[in-house]
């Protein structure tokens, strides 16, 4: 510690600057130890090398990752395969991890704790093999589905429950309902283990803060450490009373939920904190700068997804002073952050303006923008009451859920349209009784799409039947309405609403493929069906293959405006929406969205060449975005119109990924122009915008040598990450988008 720190009071900004530097160093260590991380930053701090073990694991979002564990924890097993299944043992084993978890206290931070390991990475055996769904495998593999079976979290708890009850209150609630539900003893035992584990972890952190305080030479930081200790001892039982305590309580909960199964759903942060802020300010014990500091310390410890502004259940905008303090917090912190600001007719327009200003000031991809009117209206159209629709909170990459009430499985169930297309194409070409045509291809595409939806729905019914026996949602159950009361896991009837998301992916890949075939094969007859198949099978490597590929690629593409590919994209989304809403289900709804998330790479890797000119193994198109290069001038408004026109429109999103020219100045006029662009996209039906304002040259240099800009942050898809943490392939996707759209 420097002499300056010892003798001078540090400002909140100086403390945040130092905390950011520490995080950057921790991130660079993760990059060295874990390699590329094509996912949320998660704010994970590596365990010390002497207890660290690097493993291959599956994340809470279902993708394979390299992860670091705290070694030497003996997880109990209740299955011959060495796995552990069911609520009690999951709770017990999670507690084992929490018990082994070292404390983490930074004297500069106002809150204690940091996450060092993912519990999911200890679940080496995944799904319980006794629960067999092999009857679905053939079609799941044929259509290359991401079926979601065994997927966890991806819904939103209501942290207001915890802020009101505190850990003791939640334990009392469990005790009360356990008497009413004797059948659920295993479940309650699991829940209790989670709480006991969290409280012990908190206690060790409080003790660590106390010890550090005795060694701390700076009076300012000593005082901070003493306060951390005092707050955390109190929060072992009591609910939080102040904004700082609320931030500390939520941080513990978020970290535990993150550690358990990757949940990063925070929900309506401004609404959650507003009563604490109002109370502290009325008592004269909190300045806005201090409030922003505590919020920043919380967001430093977890890259949780949060919504600012938007309607309450009655339709009144909840934007408050706290909404702006959250923006101030991420403005000051400048690390990856996943905060979305609502944009809508009744939402404070200043919130949008402030968000756009921040984008241009820091060029770090935050905040993102949420088209609240179209999502609310969509969910009402989908058959849900207006109050329910308005109560949803932005909680993940591209999704929202009603906090504590809606089990959603959002962003983990995906249908790759391009895989369906390839099945349909092969099917048609193999049928000697049929003369190939675009119409015949479309009929088969729709048929296979319907089958893919049906198989997915069957898988989800299976998941809902058994997930609670495999890996119940214990931390999230604690803060939902119903699981404790009924003694049922959220995945098994515990909550009120079962509205599961299914996302379509590769929209542009397939829309452009249909348009290319229609124009070049059917209308212009520049290519025969047989030659097309030969070139696809040969991955454009046949004689004249590159010319044919470019011929197909050069038709007007989805996004160019008024093209046939634009028509095909709308037709595909309509067919997808219809297939989902016509699919019979029992006990749950299905709602479509369009989003590929980071799977853009993995889905493409497993896919043969497609008639849009894509090579086998190349990434599929990103979410609902057009293919890069869709217009010579990369017209932003053309893309905004195209994406607004392909919304399924039933409450789930089809986000627009937008890269803007930093040549736009930070003048009031230019900020207003970008604000208008965002507003108009939403007015036309758009649902979400992930925005980057990036210097093209800087990104190109960082792609070449990531170490040159270690602090460069981009919004990759729905999530935000350090550019240097991404794999070269994923960096390439970002680069392609920026070159095409910037």
């Amino acid at each position: 510690m420097t002499a300056t720190i010892l003798t001078q009071e540090l400002t909140y900004q100086e403390r945040l600057d130092a905390l950011r530097a520490t995080k950057l160093a921790q991130t660079q260590e993760k990059q060295r130890v874990l390699g590329a991380m094509d996912h949320d930053d998660w704010a994970l701090v590596l365990p010390l090398p002497e207890v660290r073990k690097v493993v291959q694991a599956v994340s809470g979002s279902g993708v394979t990752i390299t992860d670091a564990l705290i070694d030497g924890i003996d997880m109990a097993s209740n299955h011959a395969n060495g796995g552990f299944y069911g609520p009690r043992i999951c709770g017990e084993n999670f507690r084992r991890l929490l018990d082994a978890h070292p404390p983490y206290v930074d004297p500069l931070c106002s809150l204690a704790g940091a996450v060092m390991a993912n519990f999911a990475s200890y679940r080496r055996q995944g799904w319980n093999p006794d629960l067999d769904y092999s009857h679905l495998h053939a079609e799941q593999q044929l259509y290359k589905l991401t079926p979601g079976i065994g997927g966890s979290q991806h819904f939103c708890p209501d942290l207001a429950i915890g802020l009101e009850l505190g850990w003791r209150g939640i334990l009392d609630k469990i005790e009360y309902y356990r008497a009413e539900n004797p059948h659920a003893e295993e479940f309650y035992a699991g829940l209790e283990e989670v709480i006991f584990g969290i409280r012990d972890w908190m206690h060790r952190n409080a003790v660590a803060a106390q010890e550090l305080a005795t060694q701390e030479e700076s009076p300012q930081l000593r005082c901070n450490l003493e306060e951390i200790a005092e707050i955390n001892f109190r929060l072992l039982d009591e609910p939080p009373q102040t904004l700082r305590e609320a931030c500390q309580w939520m941080t513990w909960y978020l970290m535990a939920a993150r550690m358990y199964n990757g949940s990063g759903a925070l929900g309506r942060l401004d609404v959650l904190l507003e009563p604490f802020y109002a109370r502290d300010v009325a008592a004269g014990r909190l300045s806005d700068e201090e409030a922003a500091f505590h919020i920043a310390c919380m967001l430093l410890r977890d890259t949780a997804y949060a919504q600012l502004g938007g309607p309450d259940a009655a339709g009144h905008d909840v934007t408050s002073r706290v909404s702006y303090l959250v923006l101030d917090a991420i403005d000051r912190l400048q690390v990856p952050a996943n905060v979305g600001v609502c944009v809508g007719n009744d939402v404070d327009p200043e919130l949008l303006q402030r968000g756009v200003e921040m984008q241009f000031t820091h060029r770090m991809g935050f905040p993102k923008f949420l088209g609240i009117d179209s999502t609310v209206q969509g969910l009402i159209r989908n058959g849900y009451p207006a109050e329910t629709a308005r109560s949803r909170a932005y909680s993940g990459c591209h999704w929202s859920a009603v906090p504590g009430r809606e089990y959603a499985m959002r962003d983990i169930v995906k249908i790759n349209f391009a895989a369906i297309f390839n099945v349909a194409f092969a099917d048609m070409m193999a049928d000697t009784a049929v003369k190939p045509s675009v119409d015949a291809l479309w009929q088969r595409f729709v048929h296979h799409l319907q089958r893919a939806v049906a198989v997915t729905a069957e898988g989800l019914a299976f998941h809902l039947e058994h997930m609670h026996e495999v890996f119940p949602e214990l931390p999230l159950d604690l803060l939902c309405y119903g699981p404790i009361e009924k003694g049922e896991d959220a995945s098994h009837g515990g909550v009120e609403i079962y509205n599961l998301g299914i996302d379509g992916a590769a929209l542009a890949t397939v829309a452009d493929s249909f348009a290319a075939i229609e124009q070049r094969v059917e209308q212009e007859r520049r290519l025969s069906w047989a030659d097309l198949m030969r070139h696809l099978d040969g991955n454009w490597g046949e004689a004249d293959g590159e010319r044919v590929r470019l011929m197909l690629k050069s038709v007007p593409r989805y996004g160019s405006g008024g093209s046939r590919a634009d028509d095909w994209a709308q037709r595909i989304v309509r067919a997808f929406t219809y297939a989902i809403k016509e699919q019979p289900t029992s006990g749950f709804d299905l709602t479509p969205g369009i989003f590929s998330w980071a799977s853009t790479l993995a889905m493409g890797r497993a896919l043969a060449a497609t008639p849009d000119g894509r090579h086998a193994g190349d990434p599929i198109s990103h979410g609902s975005n057009p293919n890069p290069g869709f217009r010579e001038d990369g017209a932003t408004t053309a893309m905004a119109l195209a994406i607004a026109a392909v919304q399924p429109g039933l409450g789930n999103s089809a986000p627009m990924q937008l890269e803007l020219d930093p040549g736009l100045s930070r003048s009031t006029e230019d900020i207003a122009k970008v604000g208008s662009l965002i507003r108009t996209h939403f007015d036309l039906g758009g649902t979400q915008i992930n925005l980057n304002v990036l210097d093209k040259q800087k990104v190109l240099e960082a792609h070449k040598d990531p170490s040159k800009y270690p602090d460069l942050i981009v919004r990759v898809t729905g999530f935000s990450a350090y550019f240097a943490s991404l794999s070269p392939e994923f960096r390439q996707i970002v680069v392609d988008r920026i070159i095409a759209e910037g």
């Binding site: 010319r547 008024g562 001038d633 932003t636 408004t637 053309a638 122009k673 662009l677 007015d683």
Partner: protein, 299 residues
């Protein structure tokens, strides 16, 4: 009615207020040696050739009746002097090594494209801007496009050098809500040396435009060695300050990004030695202009 259009740029944010669509029309009656839109200079369609994109499929050899394309020593050679600009080769070039610049479009086609972004104009106070090239060279087409846009309630603007008899400038005004014009130098001989034309008519038209009901924005591209002195910018600003309906005076720094376009058109880029003015220098020029009492903007 048809016009020769090089490009329709949507989400244009540097060509007037709000979100705009800028229609670039082909043909200009100035020859500024630094011009960053060389594809807009000549009024007739031309072919851009990007040899680095060529995949050597040789389809253009068969398509060209003039024999303008050949492969010599494994390299695609384009003899521009033989080219009639028919565009047949372009249709076969899927690699976009050959690109036709300047498409003949009807008023309806252009207006249809402009209308696509009507929602964005409405929310941002934007509209359409005709640029180029010189939109007044295609006066009838320009007037028809702008009139149609005005009928649909779309704000209209033109970017012009105003190097025409006043009658032609005046003819477009009923269809224009905002005029943006360039003044590049106050000295006529210097103006001629760098743009090929004298400036008396331009300044006369500027003075007249300054008295019209439409607001006027005057812009000066700041070109090193041409007009980048405080004295020259101050002189232009002093003149601009006399225009009663001036909205603001804007300085645009020279940028060197057009060189590859010249190459693709087989033209010589004569501004290779120019170094873009620094932000500090631009700020000092803006200060010099500001002293003339004019409302300033820096791009």
């Amino acid at each position: 009615m048809q016009g020769i259009v090089t490009n329709i740029q949507r989400f244009s944010v540097h060509d007037g207020p709000g979100i705009r669509t800028t229609v670039f029309l082909k043909g200009c009656n100035l020859r500024c040696f630094w011009c960053h839109n060389p594809e807009d200079m000549n009024p007739a369609p031309e072919i851009q050739f990007f040899p680095e994109r060529c995949i050597e499929c040789e389809a253009c050899l068969d398509a060209c009746v003039q024999g303008a394309h050949s492969v010599d020593d494994g390299h695609h050679r384009f003899r521009r002097e033989l080219c009639s600009g028919c565009g047949e080769c372009v249709d076969t070039c899927y690699a976009k090594s050959l690109v036709l610049v300047g498409a003949s479009k009807s008023v309806e086609e252009v207006v249809d494209e402009i209308l696509q972004d009507q929602a964005f104009y409405a929310s941002s106070g934007g509209g359409v801007t005709l640029s180029g090239g010189e939109p007044l060279l295609q006066i009838d087409f320009s007037a028809a496009v702008l009139a149609r846009c005005q009928e649909r309630g779309i704000h209209t603007a033109i970017e012009t050098a105003a190097n025409f008899p006043w009658a032609r400038v005046e003819a477009i005004l009923p269809h224009v809500d905002l005029v943006m014009m360039d003044i590049k130098h106050m000295d006529s001989a210097a103006h001629r040396r760098s743009t090929g034309v004298r400036n008396e008519r331009i300044l006369e038209n500027a003075a007249r435009l300054g008295r019209q009901p439409q607001p006027l924005i005057v812009r000066t591209p700041v070109i090193p060695g041409v007009n980048d002195s405080a004295a020259q910018i101050g002189a232009i600003a002093a003149f601009v300050a006399t225009l009663p309906n001036l909205l603001y005076y804007e300085l645009l720094p020279y940028h060197p990004m057009a060189e590859s376009k010249y190459r693709s058109l087989g033209q010589l880029y004569r501004a290779t030695d120019l170094v873009p003015p620094s932000p500090a220098h631009m700020a000092s020029l803006a200060e010099a202009a500001g002293e003339a009492g004019v409302t300033m903007r820096l791009a």
